[in-house]
């Protein structure tokens, strides 16, 4: 939904992952903590499984003469307990019991909980209400209290404790799985399966379940440690394993009575529980990291306040002295894994005061990254500005310090983004957000700022501005929200407004209004606009000049009417020809075959050569420069179209 162009292009850059398994396993093993956890876990499990085979004394045989031996005593590596039983033997046999109980409880809870969640989420309606009310009831009890009540009723004992722990964890699975199932059931592929003639049961278990399974596994791996802790807890209280049978919890409970005289009797089993649970949690986190697609793509990495600028970057001198913004040789890269994606590969552009320049391109062309690089709003990691300069009048934006960039953001250079719902903070009123934008640059009293905010809303033609200041973004329509965003961009008399697809998320009638508004405002305020879009129609409506981007570089630039009427670059020509035009229904749509190159593996020569009918041998070698092509025009092509109209 809130897919920004930058994120979109980053997402597109991901190489298709080959078949899930091998890489998943490799990822897991790359995680040292998870591997350590797995190693410890395997060792513990092997020891527990091998208990009958190991040369251990009988764990339940008492020997009063040998009671409370300290660890490293002869014949008793970990000493003995109050009844003279060998602690090492009891520890291994106890671990076996604890593991078995924890695992069984997890499996029971996962099975019933997931089943309830799947059915409730998929069926919806009354079934859902009925099942989830039941689950809510169980969840209304403080966690372990219900287990206590169940054990109180059934009587103490290991099996009863197991049931109790399993029952109280069912809601946890049910809730989690239901949430996921609801999301999946509304996905289009479920409707597609229904239209393919599949029955409800076949869809639930054949289409939905495979997608839910990773979540079930994640939930299991993160809860099993907890279940082991809880069963140990019940045993510790004397409500679980009953003598002579011992699990880790009851060993700890026994040791507690002699804590002051023989601490090792309680410390050792506690340590074992800790090691077991810790190793499971480490491994579980690793599994979660691998299976959770958000974590896999590094999406949970925190972007820093400003895009990193490479140390080795070489500044470029200004080229257009009269311009308010002059970008020279901009290179922005994304470093993902071992790959370097050249999202922007050497872009030059300039803006005169009051001018509107459109940057047009398809997704992945680097148009948004270009725009977001200027004020350092490309997320780092993975983004990085590696070369070039952006001159805002006399200052190079890539050379100034962070505080200066902060002062310029929202003041001299402001932004309008694509989706006006996600770009406004949902928890603050419109007034809060507007006054904040004002006061960040001009210290004043709140009442003064309120007046200024009201004035701004009036400027963007919002009726009842004083009332609207008090509302939250979700209470406004999309068009209104975008007006608010524009008001915010105008708050401090910006010299340059960077508008990144500001009308793409809007309906066509609302789009027309917003475009008119932007056009009128820039004429009133003499602000220059850098306008990012994929739509030539929108460009025609508001832009004086246009720059067409392909694979991270500008391939053609010039005055809007001229470029649209007589495109010089074959890509521009094709891009115009493949879009239906209103009023010309009979027009043949000339599709561009093939796909744009991925920017981590650009071909030599022209990036468009592979899809171009005019390409010749010289197009596939060397660097093709952006060459002047008549007055105020430039094109990056060795064999440009000459004068043929786009529609010819």
């Amino acid at each position: 939904m809130s897919d920004t162009a930058a994120a979109g292009s980053a997402g597109r850059m991901h190489k298709p992952r080959k078949r899930g398994r091998p890489s998943t396993l490799r990822l897991l093993f790359n995680n040292t903590l998870a591997t350590t956890g797995l190693a410890v876990l395997v060792a513990i499990v092997l020891a527990a499984l091998a208990a009958p085979l190991l040369p251990l004394p009988d764990p339940d045989v008492t020997a009063p003469a040998d009671r409370l031996l300290r660890p490293l005593a002869e014949g008793h590596l970990l000493g003995t307990d109050a009844l003279g039983r060998d602690i090492l033997s009891r520890l291994i046999w106890g671990t076996r019991v604890s593991l078995a109980v924890g695992l069984s409880a997890t499996l029971i809870a996962a099975f019933f909980g997931s089943l309830i969640g799947l059915v409730a989420g998929y069926a919806g309606g009354r079934v859902d209400t009925f099942l989830m009310r039941g689950v809510d009831m169980v969840m209304a009890f403080p966690y372990i209290l219900l287990a206590l009540a169940i054990v109180a009723a059934l009587g103490p004992g290991l099996i009863n404790a197991l049931y109790a722990i399993a029952v109280i964890n069912i809601p946890f699975f049910a809730r989690n799985i239901r949430g996921i199932t609801i999301g999946l059931s509304r996905r289009e592929f479920v409707d597609a399966a229904r239209l393919s003639g599949k029955s409800s049961a076949a869809i639930l278990f054949g289409e939905v379940l495979p997608n839910v399974l990773p979540v079930i596994i994640i939930t299991m791996s993160t809860t099993i440690g907890w279940m082991i802790l809880e069963t140990a807890g019940l045993s510790f209280l004397g409500l679980g394993a009953q003598p002579p049978q011992a699990d880790l919890g009851s060993m700890l409970g026994d040791g507690r009575k002699i804590l002051f005289t023989a601490p090792h009797v309680s410390i050792i089993p506690g340590l074992m529980i800790f090691a077991l649970v810790m190793s499971i949690n480490l491994f579980g986190d690793g599994v979660r990291d691998v299976l959770d697609p958000r974590l896999k793509s590094g999406a949970l990495t925190r972007p820093v306040a400003r895009t990193a600028v490479a140390q080795e970057r070489e500044a470029e001198p200004r080229r257009h002295s009269g311009s308010v913004l002059d970008v020279v040789g901009l290179n922005t890269q994304f470093h993902i894994g071992g790959d370097i994606y050249r999202a922007v590969g050497g872009v030059d552009l300039h803006l005169k005061p009051g001018e509107c320049l459109g940057i047009v391109g398809e997704s992945g062309s680097g148009k948004s990254v270009t725009a977001m690089s200027l004020m350092g709003l490309v997320p780092t990691p993975p983004g990085r500005i590696t070369a070039g300069s952006a001159w805002l009048e006399e200052e190079d934006l890539f050379s100034v310090d962070d505080e200066r960039i902060r002062q310029l953001r929202g003041a001299d250079v402001s932004h309008v983004f694509q989706d006006p719902l996600s770009t406004l903070h949902p928890l603050f009123t419109i007034g809060d957000q507007l006054t904040e934008a004002i006061m960040a640059h001009r210290p004043m009293r709140r009442s003064q700022a309120d007046e200024k905010a009201e004035e701004l809303l009036r400027l963007v033609r919002i009726t009842n501005p004083a009332e609207r200041l008090k509302v939250y973004p979700h209470e406004l329509s999309g068009g209104m929200r975008q007006r608010v965003c524009i008001a915010m961009a105008l708050a401090n008399d910006a010299k340059v407004i960077i508008a990144d697809e500001p009308t793409t998320a809007l309906d066509v009638t609302v789009q027309a209004q917003i475009l008119s508004l932007l056009d009128a405002l820039r004429r009133e305020s003499n602000a220059a606009i850098l306008f990012i879009t994929h739509d030539f129609g929108v460009v025609s409506a508001v832009c004086d000049r246009v720059a067409v981007m392909y694979a991270g570089r500008i391939v053609e630039t010039g005055e809007t009417e001229v470029v649209l009427a007589r495109p010089a670059h074959p890509y521009t020509g094709k891009l115009i020809d493949c879009v239906p035009v209103l009023g010309q229904p009979g027009r043949r749509l000339d599709a561009i075959e093939g796909r744009p190159p991925v920017v981590n593996n650009l071909p030599a020569g022209c990036a468009f050569a592979a899809r171009c009918e005019r390409a010749e041998a010289d197009c596939r070698e060397g660097d093709i420069p952006l060459a002047a092509f008549g007055e105020g025009r430039a094109v990056r092509c060795l064999h440009p179209l000459k004068g043929e109209a786009a529609d010819a």
Binding site: S2, G134, M137, A140, F141, P142, Y143, I144, L145, L146, L148, A149, I150, V151, A152, A153, L154, G155, P156, G225, L229, A232, G233, F236, L237, L239, R256, L259, S266, I267, G270, I273, F274, M278, N281, A299, L300, T301, R302, A305, M375, R406, L408, R409, S414, H415, F417, S422, T423, H425, P426, L427, F428, E436, A437, A440, H441, Y472, H474, M488
Partner: protein, 314 residues
Amino acid sequence: MAAYIAKRLLAAIPVLFGLSIIVFLIMAMIPGDPATAILGSYATPENVAKLNADLGLDKSLPQQYLIWLGNILQGDFGRSYALNRPVLDEVLERFSATLILAGTALVLCSILGLLAGVVSAVRQYGLADKAITVLVLVGISTPSFWLGLLLILVFAVKIRLFPASGMYAIYGGGDLPDLLHHLFLPALTLAVVATGVIARLTRTAMLEVLRQDYIRTARAKGLTERRVIYRHAFKAALVSVIPVIGIQAGFVLGGAVYIETVFQWPGIGSMLVNAISTRDLLLVQGGVVVVAAAYVLFNLAADVVQTLLDPRLR
């Protein structure tokens, strides 16, 4: 807002109702004949029949439930046979001790958890983040009852900084400093796990929020990074962490069972464990009902706070 709170309060009634049914059913699940269980196997059949009639056990299950519910609503939870006093008196007395312990732990884990989570997110992959991540993992993997024992061993036995057990000193205690002195170790132990969980979720929530478009907007406006993180990001993250704190309250209340046993804190948890061992089922039942009801109300409060923070929920 008042209307919303009233609505939520009304919605809590069916939950409390369902809760009472679950408790009643669990108690009805008890195998064997309760009268025989109470009177012992040497009781005469007449005595058993009389007790059954006294307890209303000769009636149908729904009838029994209604009578039971009626009694509870009037505050009559029956008498504890082991303590020979009204269940409600004992439960309320014990519950106040638990509230002190659990309340302190909850405040502690909320503050520490939020703090650690925010620091961890802001310094992602830094030293502080790594340290906190490891500490959190250790925290949620440590059995709290064992941790309590270790703390007693170190701080009460070896260096004698804090008392090992109880709520007040037997001689000359009873004032606030004495209470705090006794409270420190158990409250800390009880808070450890919940701190870990809250810290973890706060970190995830902060990271999630920090990549939202509105954070980019805040930066594009020229706000200071401090303001972006502590005003814009933290408020949004808090909205998703508050329900977690509500759930953690349940874990803390439950965890009090272990901690009160380890530190011999005279709260409802240790009362329940004793009552279960002595099969004092009316006492168990009363304790469970009161704690669960309190928990429902607490979650209600968490809901209301969340709604106050997030206008979209109104």
